[in-house]
């Protein structure tokens, strides 16, 4: 098992969200038309990121208060910001980004199947 000290949480976020994002980039290089999203979708992704970043603080505050999960202070920055570990904001932003990308790519694909003439 690899250890990265207080950067461990951040490193796992970068590895797993980075892998998911790399997969999207690779797919966009290989199958350009089906994965490239229209500009309006960037707005949807951005707003989803804002909404989840705003609610993650209170959610994690409750989770930590109820001891649903506990962070190891030696593997995280051990800094609480608006009720959550600072890394959690980074976590939710990147997770929302990759889940939103996947959702919109598949949703556009379903739209095209329903209406074959659709340009997006």
């Amino acid at each position: 098992m690899m250890y990265f000290g207080i950067y461990s949480y951040i490193v796992t976020i970068l590895i797993f969200c980075g892998l998911a994002f790399a997969l999207y980039v690779l797919a966009s290089l290989l199958r350009k038309r089906s994965v490239i999203l229209p500009a309006v979708d960037r707005k949807s992704i951005l707003w989803t990121m804002v909404i989840f970043a705003a609610i993650v603080g209170p959610e994690e505050y409750v989770a930590l208060s109820w001891r649903i999960w506990i962070y190891n202070p030696e593997r995280t920055f051990d800094t609480i910001f608006f009720g959550a570990e600072v890394e959690t904001f980074f976590f939710i932003t990147l997770v929302v980004l990759v889940v939103s990308l996947a959702t919109l790519v598949y949703a556009r694909r379903e739209d095209r199947k329903r209406k074959p003439g659709l340009s997006i």
Partner: protein, 137 residues
């Protein structure tokens, strides 16, 4: 609060949070081992139910999208979570989940992966619908 302060002195601030959890259980008569389920019900299932109740017809058109996203979420999240628990980045105390462990993770964590993905997908699809009808492209 003397007990809470003593706990904090002995085990640090996280133990104090445990004491708050104990008080919460006493106050609201929550059964032990149910905190994670309650947390999911309040912060994940309830928003999903509300959003789906209001937009089920539109969201149901994208059932395959939800299915694929959940599959991808499991592919990435399960190894991530197992690694994090084994590397002791975070852990799940045994007294706040129902105790069914799969691959070292509580069952509720799998619900978390699936339903948080559904929640994110739901929000982004509703925003897609909103911006499509309110933006002149």
């Amino acid at each position: 609060m003397v007990e809470g302060a003593a706990l904090e002195k002995l085990y640090g601030s996280k133990a104090h949070r445990g004491f708050e959890s104990h008080l919460f259980r006493q106050k609201y008569l929550i059964n032990q081992f149910m905190e994670y389920i309650f947390w999911l019900a309040i912060f994940v299932w309830l928003p999903i139910i509300i959003l789906w109740a209001m937009n089920w017809e539109y969201l149901l058109k994208y059932k395959r999208t939800f299915l694929y996203c959940i599959i991808w979420a499991f592919i990435f999240s399960i190894p991530w979570d197992i690694w994090a628990v084994r590397a002791d980045i975070w852990h799940f105390p045994s007294d706040t989940n129902i105790g069914v462990l799969i691959g070292g993770l509580p069952l509720e964590e799998y619900f978390f992966m699936a339903f948080v993905t559904i929640l994110i997908s739901t929000v982004v699809l509703l925003l897609k619908k909103y911006f499509e009808t309110h933006t002149n492209l």
